[in-house]
Symmetry: C2
Subunit: 315 residues, 2 copies
């Protein structure tokens, strides 16, 4: 991702593979799949950049990167289970027990490994941060579901949802390094604010593209969130304005032909696209500003550049 | 459960309710349900008795009890999900998304709370013990599934499965108190051995009753494990002996009429019932013997009496 931390990222791949080793063949297979999948390693990259910025001890930084990435992977696995069930709703397809066991137990196994890393780190403050982060991820996930079920769509709740989905874990990656390296409260707070704002921008971008992106670029049809009953920022203004047509589409999970296309039209008419873009710009601005008080160095510049790249994708 | 620790158990109920509080209504509701359900609180009782035995600090003992019970509840919730899916296999019933969200996310929320308790306890050794315990629970669960899928039924693997399902968490309840109160290695090992043997006896008893118990007393039909593809100790001897009829029944998950009754007959003919009873007696004996080196006191006698009660149920 960033040449500055290429060596740490290579070491990270070896370490995370070791963390997921198990004598149980099925668990080992899942672990290998996950390591093979790789991904962008955004959170570990952030941890390593924060480590470079704070001149933190290498092994402590590595442990933060591993703990945060494993918690992220566990939450993806548990999310997949929920989404998987949802896409099968109303179909006669038998629910595959194998998929269930894989998702739940391999996610739990990763959480067990997080505990092991916390034990080695021996920092109560970092354990407390991870506890808070994990609780907020769960609360965000359940709240998203509760919003759809109780039809309580509002901006403050949406904010809590996107923070739980993405921001708290992005923040934990950089704040965690501050915690384990005993940085000052001001530094910790600056990195936390950066991570939260970047995380919100990241999730807002995801929500924007899910409805308003180019299906060819995305590699999937738009409107996935709508079909899962999720109301995101581009749509929220219409709902708050009491737009009856939009509300009807949201309530039937865009189940009628042409629903997604019509809602996109309504969103553009009401400026939901521009409002979301400017919300993202605001968060990117906030993320960059949060680091202004920290000493300038290549790591800080690299951290500042990352959120801007997110903004560029929806401009 | 035991008058000796009545006060601690009452305090425990208040504390666990507080642990499960959340601003998210759906999570709060699940927490209340769980607290309301109560259960026998076997693991907290064991922790409090170990605390009395070791004259451990009250708050440290309480935290072990809370952490172990929350991990237990989380694993039950995640187990339920898997079993739930299984009973629906082959049916046209839509999988209920609500049930999924509840099970996965409220289990995860409890795991997040475990992390919070570990942060307050500040003992790396206890965190490491909980990490190991959680990993072995997952491994046991996946291994049980792997046995059925790969049709690899043998006694050593069965041992790992029952340890993961029950023994490691029973052991963590008593060993955890030894760890947080800095007991000697010998004391820690004695309590661990007690908990492992008691836990194995407990799970063997469960497995015995599931096939050979009285449906009226159990409140459910016998043979539940068979229908989920699980081979337990009463049946294992038949499989190891290559009994073709038993193997066929096991492979079709006792799906034909009369299968369960026929397998019970075969088990009794081959002495699988008596072998299981004597395995339980052996574990109860081992649990009691493990505590022999510790100083005699009412708490030790209470700990010794608990496994015997399990044995009585299958005599």
């Amino acid at each position: 991702m960033v040449p500055l931390i290429a060596e740490q990222l290579a070491a990270f791949e070896r370490r995370i593979e070791a963390e997921l080793r198990s004598d149980v063949a099925f668990i080992q297979a899942i672990g290998s799949d996950l390591v093979g999948a790789g991904g962008k390693r955004l959170r570990p990259s952030l941890a390593f950049l924060a480590g470079a910025l704070l001149e933190a001890e290498a092994e402590s930084t590595m442990r933060v990167a591993l703990a945060v990435e494993l918690l992220h992977s566990a939450s993806l696995l548990h999310d997949d289970l929920i989404d998987d069930a949802d896409t099968r709703r109303g179909t006669a397809a038998a629910f595959r027990r194998y998929g269930n066991v894989v998702s739940v137990m391999s996610g739990d196994y990763m959480l067990a490994r997080v505990l092991g890393i916390l034990a080695k780190t021996g920092s109560s403050a970092f354990t407390a941060l991870m506890s808070d982060t994990a609780a907020r991820i769960c609360e965000g996930e359940v709240l998203q579901f509760q919003m759809a079920t109780l039809e309580t769509w509002d901006r403050p709740t949406y904010q809590v949802v996107i923070e739980g989905k993405t921001a708290v874990l992005v923040a934990a990656a950089v704040e965690g390094v501050a915690v384990v390296s005993d940085a000052s409260d001001a530094t910790r707070e600056a990195l936390r604010a950066y991570g939260m704002a970047f995380g919100r921008a990241f999730q807002l971008r995801d929500d924007f593209l899910d409805l308003l992106g180019d299906p060819a670029t995305l590699g999937k049809p738009v409107g996935g969130d709508l079909r899962e009953g999720k109301v995101t920022l581009p749509v929220l203004g219409l709902i708050e304005d009491g737009n009856a047509e939009a509300l009807a589409i949201v309530r039937r999970h865009a189940g009628d032909p042409g629903d997604v296309e019509r809602l996109i039209e309504l969103v553009r008419q009401h400026g939901g696209d521009r409002r979301t873009q400017s919300a993202i710009a605001g968060e990117v601005e906030a993320a960059t500003a949060a680091l202004a008080s920290l000493p300038p160095c290549p790591a800080r510049e690299a951290l500042m550049a990352l959120p801007r790249a997110e903004l560029d994708r929806v401009a």
